[in-house]
Every structure is written in structure tokens, then in C-alpha cells.
Symmetry: C2
Subunit: 305 residues, 2 copies
């Protein structure tokens, strides 16, 4: 078994009446409260040019993205920091960014733990909050549903996969803003049949959503929205679907909900776009392009281990 | 400001009606659910002779101890592991110990995150569960209360502070068993006025409880129960009050509750003992001995940073 498989084998059902267990963006506990945990490791998930402030911001936002995906309002964070000795200046910057992210997302830091790290910094955030509607998992997509993304992709991928990236790409990597208001608007109206956040890229995450739902998907490559910073670049498609770290929302919804999804987007200043459809046949078909392929990912390493 | 002070400055109130915020063993959220987080770092909090199984057990138990102290039944864990490459054998052992601890404490692992560590292993556990009575903090001790510990101290301290410790001391260090049933029995009957778990040793933790309650304490050194493994050792007192890692419960209760506390102990096969009393004058007075002193702690390093 792989390490992930060993850990996964430990994850058990939460209890009677609990709809969401392992393999989703967050666990849903009795009482309708969702919890998730994410760890950022220096040298693996962050490095220069990210500042301490950026790491503070991002360490909360990756979990805000998970809770939004499952349809829960982020509310309470627990922070665990493992730091080298004498790290006061770094911590002060980190705290500013983390605090800013708390204000942005309405989160209260309710507890934490600070430990010594022999080398490198480790930031682990557990985040919980109440569902605003029925729990929305990766598992509800149905053939015939439209496949949506909440916004343009690829800027963060450009930010970490190329030398000397443009400032806009660094900003996307360093200061992700998950579409929280939009995700919660969708959840409160129960418009989406399935959802997940795009942390590892469409080419990795869409097959996961399909597998969880027991369906396939057809993606129209020309309909996948590319971030402005990618315009005219020959590697645009690769960054958009393989880069990851976008924290956009990938979701499915019945075509009858199309206009209501657009209206939820308009209310929350988000511009969701249909990029394909859900199919009964398993597997993901891409029309007009190909996935760049896993070889590339393995060569460069994914940003989120 | 110290790093801890910077982080502490970020911890905010949880919301209206929430009784317990920072500075206690766990946060209590609306709905009466408590959450805590603890991280164990290789080379700081664990090393040989602890096995991977031991680390799995202990990583959950340190948080089980916190929830018991606040009076909450451990229920749901989130596990974050940061590991070197190719760590499958270690993870398999860890998983066995962690699973054993989940069964012992009635906890379901509901989610997690596995990341790559450039060096060394980091284990972070967030643990939540419902209160079984009113939240019991460090802040409720009143002058005239009796001061109790739930059981004998010092074996774990001997385990990590001396070369070639006896097996019983290693076991105490590696396989702590917090007095969970007793802690919850006390909490359900609301017998204790204040409580905390003894993770850093009586000489460090008792002043914290006193400060949180705005009181002082008088400890009768001869009444502090020493673990059998310390009998006849000249360093027994130092290990008992300075060693830490005991995860016994330190608590206060009105003298009128004395017999009911003993009865709760009898029901849960625990032998709590009065070690002194709570005073109106601030400060901690020890009768018949002295705290070994902070110089020793600073020289050896505390097990829990």
C-alpha cells in the first residue's frame, strides 16, 4: 500500500447520519459542521518569491476553498506552526497575512500550537464551519449535467512552473482568492449536483470528481477559460489544466439550473463558465486538445503533495 | 513580542455565547463542541526509543488529554502527516498505533492530509468532541478549593530525562493513557471548579492554572504521588514536578465535593489525590520541598515546546 492508502484505510465513517466521509474536500460531522485540514511545507508548497505574509494568507485560503466547495461557511480555525528558532520576524509577517485572510473569510482563530522545527517551516490549518445547505460532495454528478468552472485558470500554474513569472502570476500563486461567496450562494440554493475545488488542476481533479460520481465527462477545450496572463503563450493550455493552485470551483449542475447559476455568479461578481458536460460513459474526453499528460507533472512535481 | 505572543494576539473570541477561548486546553465552539490541536515533531517531541506505533498512539493521546481536561468526549480527529519520501514502513507502524488509540478513546479519524517533508516527521492532530457537562476551564479555581491530581507523576519525565531509563518509564513516555473516563465522570457531574492536563509538569502547569483563575496554591510536597518507578531515587521530586508528559489531570474542587470526587475515581479505576489547596494570595507555595527550578528545564529542554 502507498502511504496515502495506509492513512486512507484508517479514515472511518463519522457516525450515523453523517453524509460525508473521506475522499471529499471536507468531513461533515453530526450537526452539519464541516472540517478540513491542510498543511503547507516550506520548500514543498511554498518558497520565494512568496513572502511570510503570502504564506499566512494562503495557508488559510487553501482550507477556505475546501469548505466553500463542500458548501460550508468558514468559521473557526486551529493553527499549528512548526518553526525554526528565532523566527520572530517571519512569524510577524505570517501573522499579518493570516489575520488578513481571517478578516476576508470571516474566520476566527480559536486555538493553536507552536512547536520547534529542526529545519524548515510547517503550517497546518484545520478549518471548520456550518453547512449553508445540503452537503455538496464530489459524488452527485449525473449524466447530462453541465460542467462548470467558476473562473479563469492557469495563472498560479504559470507562477510556480516558469522562471521569472510575471507579477500577476506570482500574485495568483501567492494570494489565491477562492470564490467563497459564489460557492456559498450555489450551496444555499442547492444548485450544483457535485463540486470540488481545483487545487491540483483540471486534468487531475476532474477525473477525481468523475470517479466519485461514477460518471465521465466531456470537456470542450476552447471553452476552458484561460487567465489573461496566459494569452498568446504556447504553454497556456498546460498551465490551465495541469498547473493547479487555482482554487477555482469545479462543479456540475442540471441544465435547467443554467440561468440560476449565472444569476448566482452575477450576485457574487463571479463569472462561471460551462466547459463541457457529464457523460454516462466513464473517462474524461477532451475535445480540441489533449491533457498535457502525467509525465510532465511527474517531472516538475505538483505544488500540493 | 515572542512568537507565541504574536500568535496569541491573533486568537480571537469565537463568538457570542462561547465560554472558552485561547489559553485553555481546547476551544469551545457554539453548539458545545470542543476542539484542540497538537503537533509532535521528530527530534523535538519524539525520538528513539519511541517506535512508530508509539508515535501513532501518543499523537492522538496528547489531544485526548486536552479534551478530557475541558470536559469533552473525544469524537473526531483530523490528521496531518508530513513525511520524508519512501516512508511506508514507518507509516504502517504509525497507523497501527494511531488506530489503537482511536479504538481506546472512541475517536473516528474523519479526514487528513499527507505532505512531503524535506527532513523529519511532523504529526499534527486536531481533535474535536462534544462537552459532557459545562465547559471546565483553568479559570474556575476558588480559594479554599482542594487541589487534586488524578494519579502518580514522574515516570514519563524519567523516561525522557535520563539515559537508559527503565522500561516502565519508557512505556509511560511512549504510551500515555490520560484519565479520560475519570475526567469525563468529573465533568458530567460538574464536580471540579477548574482543570487542566499536566503536559509540562506541575511546576509549570500549576502556576498557569492559578494565573487563569486569579488565585494561588499551596502544595504539600509529601502528598504529591510519585510513580513507583521513582521510589528511592534522589531525583524523584524533580521528575515528578518538572518532567512533564504525564497527562494526568490537575484539578480543583470544593471540599464539599471530596467524597464525590473519590467516588468518581472509584467508578473509573482512578485514584485521585489531594496535593494541596487553593489560596487567595497569588503565587504557588510548596511545603516541604522546592520547585527544582527553571534553570534545569532550560538546560535540558522541555518535551513539549
Amino acid at each position: 500500500m502507498t502511504e496515502e492508502a495506509i492513512i486512507a484505510s484508517l479514515v472511518g465513517p463519522v457516525g450515523p447520519g453523517t453524509p460525508v466521509g473521506p475522499g471529499h474536500d471536507a468531513a461533515v460531522l453530526p450537526g452539519g459542521v464541516a472540517w478540513t485540514v491542510d498543511t503547507l511545507v516550506e520548500g514543498v508548497h511554498f518558497a520565494a518569491p512568496l513572502t511570510p505574509e503570502d504564506v499566512g494568507w494562503k495557508s488559510l485560503m487553501v482550507s477556505v476553498s475546501d469548505l466553500g466547495a463542500i458548501g460550508a461557511r468558514p468559521a473557526w480555525a486551529l493553527l499549528s506552526l512548526s518553526l525554526p528558532r528565532g523566527d520572530g520576524a517571519w512569524v510577524a509577517g505570517f501573522a499579518n497575512g493570516f489575520h488578513e485572510a481571517c478578516r476576508w473569510s470571516g474566520v476566527a482563530l480559536v486555538g493553536g500550537d507552536t512547536t520547534r522545527s529542526p529545519s524548515g517551516r510547517f503550517v497546518s490549518v484545520s478549518l471548520g464551519g456550518p453547512l449553508v445547505g445540503p452537503a455538496r460532495t464530489r459524488g452527485g454528478a449525473r449524466p447530462g449535467d453541465e460542467l462548470w468552472v467558476s473562473g479563469p485558470l492557469g495563472a498560479a500554474g504559470l507562477g510556480w512552473r516558469t522562471p521569472n513569472p510575471p507579477p500577476e502570476a506570482v500574485r495568483a500563486l501567492a494570494r489565491p482568492e477562492p470564490p467563497l461567496a459564489f460557492a456559498l450562494a450555489l450551496a444555499a440554493s442547492n444548485l450544483a449536483s457535485a463540486a470540488m475545488d481545483l487545487s491540483d488542476g483540471l486534468s487531475t481533479d476532474l477525473p477525481r470528481l468523475c470517479a466519485a460520481s461514477g460518471v465521465g465527462a466531456r470537456v470542450v477545450s476552447g471553452d476552458v477559460p484561460l487567465h489573461d496572463v496566459l494569452i498568446g503563450r504556447p504553454d497556456a493550455w498546460a498551465h490551465a489544466v495541469d498547473g493547479g493552485d487555482d482554487y477555482a470551483l469545479l462543479f456540475t449542475a442540471p441544465p435547467t439550473h443554467h440561468d440560476r447559476v449565472l444569476a448566482a455568479g452575477a450576485r457574487t461578481m463571479t463569472h462561471p463558465r460551462v466547459i463541457g458536460s457529464v457523460t454516462a460513459d466513464p473517462g474524461v474526453e477532451v475535445i480540441g486538445a489533449r491533457w498535457p499528460g502525467s509525465a510532465f507533472r511527474h517531472f516538475t512535481g505538483a505544488p500540493r503533495a
